[in-house]
Symmetry: C2
Subunit: 209 residues, 2 copies
């Protein structure tokens, strides 16, 4: 029994992974309603019926991807912590968020697409989790302000500026590339973005030395 189950589980896990990966790309480009299972099947190299063998509906693939995506975030966002100096913390945070977005472009666009389309499949649990993480970060920034390490600034609007600026390059790459007069964005463009965002915002919120 154990002998027989192992390879089956490997095949199962592998195919589920392939389907998820193909789904990320296609859902990102077409949105939930615009995506057809046949496309995911084709991109996965599987017949359509096999996709239905692993997932019972389009929605099940989609929500599996969303859950997988949110789980992958917390790592990238651990730098805002009270024991750090704010300048270093924000530099690391900005770099980590830009890196994550660049390396997971399709996931980032899929999430953006889900939000633009009204966050229909974001569970209450996911949203509560994101709100709590934000609250913790807001608390850290308020602590820095109280300690005189940061100028008074609304921490929630500050984080929105950071989210927006760091996500834009991956989510809206055609516009970002046009704006930079490049055909495609390279690592150097992301580095330059990190430098510009960090320097501008830090000068804007650090007390004059």
């Amino acid at each position: 029994m154990a002998k027989a189950r192992d390879p089956e589980e490997r095949i199962s896990a592998r195919n589920r992974r392939i389907i998820i990966k193909a789904g990320i790309e296609i859902f990102a480009r077409k949105g939930f309603d615009g995506t057809r299972i046949a496309e995911i099947a084709e991109a996965s190299g599987l017949p359509k019926a096999n996709v239905y063998y692993y997932f019972s509906s389009k929605e099940e693939i989609y929500t599996a991807i969303i859950a997988h995506l949110i789980a992958g975030w917390d790592d990238a966002l651990k730098y805002i912590s009270p024991e750090r100096e704010p300048a270093e913390a924000f530099r690391l945070y900005i770099k980590a968020k830009l890196d994550y977005a660049r390396r997971n472009g399709a996931e980032s666009r899929l999430f953006a697409s889900e939000i633009i389309q009204g966050a229909r499949f974001l569970t209450k649990k996911d949203r509560d989790h994101m709100r709590r993480v934000t609250d913790v970060h807001v608390g850290v920034v308020e602590g820095w302000i109280a300690a005189g390490k940061l100028l008074p600034v609304d921490p929630r609007h500050l984080f929105i500026m950071l989210w927006a600026s760091t996500q834009f390059y991956a989510e809206f790459e055609p516009v970002a590339a046009d704006g930079l007069r490049k055909t495609r964005l390279k690592i150097e463009d992301y580095d330059k973005a990190a430098a510009t965002i960090s320097e501008t915002i830090l000068k804007g919120i650090l007390p004059a030395s």
Copy 2:
């Protein structure tokens, strides 16, 4: 003839306008591939065949909307001009962009959706136009830097920060509202956003006085 054509043209113009308006909402929520003509027809209060009477295909409705949208932008973006002082220019620009996004939420989301989905229907003409407008603004900022009115900063990345920050609230309203711990965004939230973005970025790029 003239007597008969006038009212007909009014009906025609009116129905085209109604279809465009309904299309903006639905394309914004579902993307191009996810939108069905039947939905646009229903939201317009017209039978599906009437939509086909005014537009010969889904793509024709979509591209008409994109063109209409780009035409509406230039007005909102006229504040970056060399005769202004940079502080005032950026404040007005940030306010105008946030206002436009708030008042034209569906259009903003539709455009964001189009970019995320790969800018498939943005014509070369539209992209060239946007690039040229950006180049003019970049030139103005470079002039201010050369005149010592702004600290050295990469103008293209600066504009991306401004685009991203000002568009985020309308495009990703569910996330912005969660981040601010509100259920829905109000005008006051947009005002506070304008203040935070303006103050932070201006402190970041204006020379110490």
